[in-house]
């Protein structure tokens, strides 16, 4: 069941597998973990309804084909889906693109303009967007950006102008507990523990172990200045709708921590 973040912006959530055992959380007992709970790194997709037109950003994984199709039906009904944006062709992000396009032949596929292998991902026929390109949906306008911290070269980030929402895809993901599904970060109990971000980036964005800390953190400062978002909507975490730039600042601690301790582990 999707959750509305702001009027017209909907959060569609897939929990993925429980990571508790494979990450030895019960034994390691990091500060954010509560004994007996399951822990997740979710997959998130977002639907933007601008009144006139609708846009879906990412597709969830192939394990949730029925769920994403049902969510689209629930949110757009007979109006149809006007745009499907694939942030990057990683299977858990784009794995339902064909199923969605089959179900919604009215939909325009939107793909990153970056990278040079589009045919290998069946993204050659889509509309290709790069920095500054926009799609007006009515009372919502989305804008596309070169992805700063990414895995696949065929990648793009997105913002929604009216609400000041940044969609940074894989960056700023983090773990959460079973009872925190579809919960906004400001609704969590207690202070947000930066080690949740470390746990994710130290495994999934494995290259953090190799970065130049000063350069990477200067880039984070540049991102804060460029976007200054009100809301951060990551693909692998919970939605941050208050004090968003403070959470972006926390990412500098993530860089320093992984530099000191190395890769936390594999996704496992």
């Amino acid at each position: 069941m999707p959750r509305e973040i702001e009027p017209g912006i909907h959060w569609i959530y897939e929990a993925g597998p429980d990571r508790t055992e494979s990450w030895d959380l019960a034994d390691r007992d990091p500060e954010w973990y509560e004994e007996g709970q399951e822990a997740y790194v979710p997959q998130c997709a977002y639907l933007v309804d601008g009144g006139d037109e609708t846009l879906l950003f990412d597709t969830l994984s192939p394990a949730s084909t029925d769920e994403i199709l049902a969510a689209i039906d629930e949110l757009v009904g007979d109006r149809g889906l006007d745009y499907l944006v694939v942030s990057h062709p990683d299977v858990p992000h784009a794995g339902n693109a064909l199923a969605i396009l089959d179900e919604h032949p009215e939909t325009t596929l939107v793909a990153p303009g970056y990278g040079n292998d589009h045919e290998l991902y069946r993204l050659d026929d889509g509309v290709h967007v790069t920095e500054g390109d926009e799609i007006a949906l009515g009372n919502r306008i989305v804008e596309f950006h070169e992805a700063t911290f990414l895995d696949a070269p065929v990648s793009v980030w997105m913002t929604e102008r009216e609400t000041g929402t940044l969609f940074p895809v894989d960056w700023m993901g983090f773990t959460h507990l079973d009872n925190e599904r579809l919960v906004f970060v400001d609704e969590l109990d207690g202070e947000f523990d930066v080690s949740r971000l470390v746990e994710f980036h130290g495994r999934v964005l494995f290259w953090y172990q190799y970065v130049d800390v000063e350069k990477t953190n200067a880039e984070i400062d540049a991102l804060i200045e460029k976007f200054d978002p009100e809301i951060v909507a990551p693909a692998h975490g919970l939605v941050i709708r208050e004090d968003a730039t403070e959470y972006m600042e926390l990412m500098k601690d993530v860089t320093r921590t992984i530099d000191e301790q190395g890769r936390v582990g594999t996704l496992g």
Partner: protein, 246 residues
């Protein structure tokens, strides 16, 4: 047609062209003691050519096992056409969440662990050069071949698709190694190059590597391994130095 890399490892060579450059999107066939093993399954873009090449190389029998470096489409798109969704073909992948990766029937290999597949021992290595978190490099203990997935690639000019590294006049050219890694492992712009190099040193010290078999480049053999490593080091230093924060 396949290209022999080592006595029991063959290269099923496929190329993708963009703006005059060629980029390999290949896979490899191992003749293990108890059967044939494919490393990766190639792109759907080359499906017809790949299934025909595997069919010819295996006398119509198809592979006995498929080992995937990761689930990215250019590597994992032909699992079903090659029989990887049947009980006759063992499918091995590193993903901890195979259903999310579109590989619900895969047998899991742990990064950092080893498995015997068709009588051959393989080790699964945490790769310093990759584009997805669940990628594994695969080391074949039989011939000493290191399959490096997205790492150790290069672009090449038309007409050099079948080259091993020692077929180039002076081994794989530095600028082609640089261009490939610049375009495909974008995060290298943020690295401290010595950190990557240390990890590569550890891998090459731990495994007796006779050949490196990338999916997106010409295989690297013999003395060219040291040459390639040196050129890769220069390339990574260049990629990192060329990016400055705006």
């Amino acid at each position: 047609m396949t290209v022999q890399v080592t006595p029991s490892v063959e290269w099923i060579n496929q190329c993708y062209e963009h703006e005059g450059d060629h980029e390999h999107v290949s896979l490899y066939l191992l003749r293990a003691p108890e059967g044939t093993v494919l490393v990766d399954s190639g792109s759907f873009y080359h499906r017809e050519e790949i299934t025909a090449a595997v069919d010819e190389a295996t006398d119509g029998d198809g592979p006995d096992a498929i080992v995937l470096s990761h689930s990215d489409y250019p590597h994992a798109a032909n699992v079903s056409p090659l029989g990887g969704d049947t009980e006759d073909v063992e499918l091995v992948a590193s993903s901890a969440s195979p259903a999310q990766q579109g590989l619900p029937d895969a047998r899991k290999c742990d990064i950092g662990g080893s498995l015997t597949i068709e009588g051959r021992e393989f080790s699964f290595i945490d790769p310093p050069l990759a584009d997805r978190s669940h990628t594994t490099w695969i080391y074949d203990h039989g011939d000493g071949v290191l399959f490096t997935a997205d790492g150790f690639g290069n672009y090449h000019d038309p007409g050099r698709c079948d080259y091993l590294s020692d077929d180039f006049p002076e081994s794989t050219p530095t600028d082609r190694i640089y261009e490939y890694h610049r375009d495909n492992l974008v995060w290298l712009r943020y690295v401290a190059p010595e950190k990557v190099d240390r990890t590569l040193d550890d891998i090459f010290a731990s495994y007796d590597v006779n050949a490196v078999a990338p999916i997106h480049g010409n295989p690297i053999v013999g003395d060219d391994l040291d040459t390639y490593r040196e050129r890769l080091r220069e390339s990574i230093e260049r990629i990192a130095s060329e990016h400055s924060v705006a």
